[in-house]
Symmetry: C2
Subunit: 341 residues, 2 copies
DNA sequence: GTGAAAGCGCTAACAG
DNA sequence: CTGTTAGCGCTTTCAC
């Protein structure tokens, strides 16, 4: 049975229980250096019997190695980010590295705080969403002396490495597709998030192409909080009663787009004939709707994977050569709500 | 400007730069003990100028204090868990504590691994989903000597504290409501997850009440992977063509329920007259559907909050008294798909 | 193969 | 209010 003391077990306890020096116990537990089978077995038995769990804090301090990768994202409730995390996990599972997640709620000050907190644990690398950070955050990232991968967005200059898509281009391409399909009276709906730089860039790209073709967004609306599906429904209803001449609705994300779609189907409106619709993200979750919303895949899983691969590569000894500026190409999915031409 | 060496900064660097002893620098940086304003300002200026980030690894080792709370959950892509995390965050934000998340993918061996990994960082507390764990995991949790809160489920005996709902009871109550409404020919659809103990318990409670009333589930189907909405749609179609006599469909989660709902609406079937439907979870996301699916709230946010409160209370000095076995009461939402009686 | 000594960067405990 | 001393539990390095 294990000792009944309050004090957590140390290497020394295992050493004493097995009659092997601390140093050798340490070697066994880390599979490092040559140890005779006899000793190894003895040590492992003792460690198991005691229920010893190594103290990584001490280990990290002594070895100056921490197998943690800080992952800093704006939100967990956005669908998008859990998927990125999945990609990161998939890659890191085959390595010694462990992701540790911090959430910023899209707030630069909180990002700064979370980053500081995470860096104080001296992680081996950082994966962080976006290219926009406070001066202090940028300074910390530069000074950390570890690989940094900025993800999701490629419209800007990374501190170190980056993996993502160009949201400006995504907006531009969607605008082109919409114009090509013949729509001319366009409404826009999105989140009221001045700090969501990626949504902003998509919007800028979108309006840029419209403007070049002499088209302007004729109505727009923004929401915050609540169920996105419900908001999409409400906002769509409001917008169409306000601006009945619209023939296309562009949504900043798939969830509100789906809400709009369901509303229009309820109303018996001809989609994509009378009105076309498009969202953004390629949310798999929505694949059971009566119609498939036109959208654009944001390559989330791939972004996570590539980012993790970059970190892993830079950390291997010697560093594997990898592309450190990765611009992925999102593709339009026309679905059933955008005429194809 | 900061030093251009590769070596990360230490307290000593700040000490030298400010001409104040390491110890006093440490005190300033931690706001502990009395320090004169003059010294404080000097130190803070030096630290900022250098861009010093404290090394928590060394701090934790020396002080034997780690402000980390390990949070271990089965999945991030389930909606449910991000919401629990939100609750945990809300509470921990007002404390010194920081959540660190580990994901098990519903696999006991992975849970064991993740737990071991996290415990080796000597966190101050553990919040872990479920009451079912491997022997080794239970042993680790007991031996850790820190507060442990098992969440989500209360049908079982916790190692230490627990916060959740009784899934067995949730199943029973839904069965009662369905029977009371007059439905008698019931089909069930759920995930193919032998390791999802909570889904299993709901199912057991459900069938138990049916059996007591001489009713049996007449058809059932299980899925895995893919878009839950799409699966709900497919499975519902299949089940009804196979068993057209069914007058109620019970889904193990809201997403597949919503898929089924959309399908039935497409078919012009009278809901809840001809067929009734119910899911589980109270997913806010779905509030924009044409009809509201009957469901049962799993109190996710509340569970997260209460769990974090328990940890915080036990860690405060002296420990605040708190309820450590919290059984929340989920409530049925009848929505538009279950007749009320 | 194995062990002994030194120290990672910080903080507790005490002294002034 | 400030400084000194002695570790925290482990790994590095070097000796045997």
């Amino acid at each position: 049975m294990s000792l009944d003391s309050k004090r957590p077990l140390t290497l020394r306890d295992v050493s004493e229980a097995s009659g092997v020096s601390e140093m050798t116990v340490s070697r066994v537990l880390r599979n490092r250096g040559d140890v005779s089978d006899t000793t190894r077995t003895k040590v492992l038995a003792a460690a198991k019997a005691l229920g010893y769990v190594p103290n990584k804090i001490a280990g990290a301090l002594a070895s100056n190695r921490v197998n943690l990768v800080a992952v800093i994202i704006p939100s967990l409730s956005n669908m998008v980010f859990p998927e990125v995390l999945t990609g990161i996990n998939q890659v890191l599972e085959d390595t010694e590295l462990q992701p540790v997640v911090g959430v910023t709620d899209y707030m630069p000050e909180k990002e700064e705080k979370v980053l500081y907190e995470m860096l104080s644990w001296r992680p081996s690398g950082v994966i962080i969403a976006g290219l926009e950070h406070s001066e202090a955050s940028r300074a910390m990232l530069k000074a950390a002396g570890i690989p940094v991968v900025e993800i999701m967005d490629t419209d800007g200059i990374p501190i170190d490495a980056m993996v993502g898509i160009s949201h400006r281009r995504a907006g531009r391409e969607m605008a082109s597709a919409i114009l090509k399909a013949g729509y001319r009276h366009i409404g826009f709906m999105g989140t009221k998030m001045p700090l969501d730089h990626r949504a902003r860039k998509r919007f800028e790209g979108f309006t840029e192409v419209l403007a070049k073709n002499g088209v302007e967004i004729e109505d727009r609306a923004f929401y915050s909080g609540g169920s996105a599906l419900a908001k999409g429904r409400e906002m769509t209803q409001d917008m169409l009663s306000r601006s009945p001449e619209l023939d296309f609705l562009y949504y900043s994300n798939d969830m509100i787009g789906a809400g709009g779609l369901l509303y229009l189907l309820d109303q018996g409106i001809d989609i994509p004939g009378q009105i076309g619709l498009a969202g953004f993200n390629g949310v798999e979750l929505l694949q059971g709707l009566p119609r498939q919303l036109a959208t654009m895949d944001a390559c989330r899983l791939e972004i996570g994977r590539r980012a993790a691969e970059i970190i892993a590569a830079q950390l291997s000894d010697p560093p594997d050569p990898v592309e450190t500026k990765v611009v992925l190409a999102p593709t339009i999915a026309y679905g059933d709500t955008l005429k194809r031409r």
